[in-house]
Symmetry: C2
Subunit: 180 residues, 2 copies
């Protein structure tokens, strides 16, 4: 792949060990995503996805249907993460977007998640969304919650015990929102 | 159809002009549901569904995949409404259910919605859900919000301007929850 460099203007390149590049992904890129995507989903400690999901079902879920968009982020030709962005709901709810982010295990702590969230906010604005809603953030995923808060998301709702954590038991599920 | 009578025990038959009967629906029942379902969705003033959805897409959305369940409610052999119940999320979120209700226009004000919500709470308990979450209740749908509150749901979150009402413009979208 030949990723475009992220610009300093969107902040996504700031403070990174190596410059991160973003490019739109297609279904043909799924083999680059599936290995870390699958590990994250199988761990069942962050996402409300079926941990036993097949690769085909995962690809369908991740790529969705138009106008959903999927991005890859890479450094030095190595894919470090992927995110998806699309309408959170259909019809009268389609002006609010939602996004999901997956970071390659080995790339944790390098600002990949932060870069993806910032990139997705820019893309969401460009797509005309009036806000971004996260429907299901496990409260136990403290680093994600901290990152989202840091980037302007607020908790607008809490589902008590909404997440069955494999080690912690039932923890709250947070609904977060960022106006655009 | 030969609906079973709702029992007084679940409260769904109380105060109704005629006894309401519930029975599980299958895809073959869709022609009984689609006419009012379509009118409600096309009006685009309550549900975050694509108002231009085809009958086939509507049937797929309504019937979903196992373990989702769909019920019909009828009186005197006439279908007055339908509801769906299933996991709100997959994997670590699958212990919380979600439900949606559609009432035939001509049957409004007869307690059909109330009977369906009560029936769905019983079914949700029987299915082992630990709570029921509504993800997207338009705040402008005051009669629904009042009914849900009356039956024990509370607003656990608000998406500001999350619903594009065809006449009122952007109104809040409520997330409601009932522990089971």
């Amino acid at each position: 792949m030949t990723p475009t460099r992220s610009s300093a203007a969107d902040g996504s390149g700031a403070g990174l060990a190596g410059g991160l590049g973003f490019r739109p992904a297609t279904g043909a890129d799924w083999p680059l995503i599936w290995p870390f995507w699958h590990r994250i989903v199988a761990a069942a400690d962050t996402y409300c996805y079926d941990p036993a999901m097949s690769s085909d079902d995962g690809r369908q879920l991740w790529f969705g249907t138009p106008p959903d968009q999927v991005w890859l982020v890479a450094a030095d030709q190595t894919v470090l993460g992927s995110y998806r962005l699309g309408p959170n709901k259909a019809g009268p709810g389609a002006h609010i977007g939602s996004a999901s982010y997956m970071v390659e295990d080995a790339a944790r702590g390098r600002g990949v998640g932060r870069a993806m969230v910032l990139h997705s906010l820019d893309q969401a604005r460009a797509a005309g969304f009036r806000g971004i809603q996260f429907n299901a953030v496990a409260a136990s995923n403290e680093s994600a919650v901290r990152l989202y808060r840091d980037l302007g998301f607020t908790v607008i709702g809490t589902v008590p015990g909404g997440f069955a954590h494999p080690r912690l038991g039932f923890v709250d599920l947070l609904i977060m929102f960022h106006e655009l």
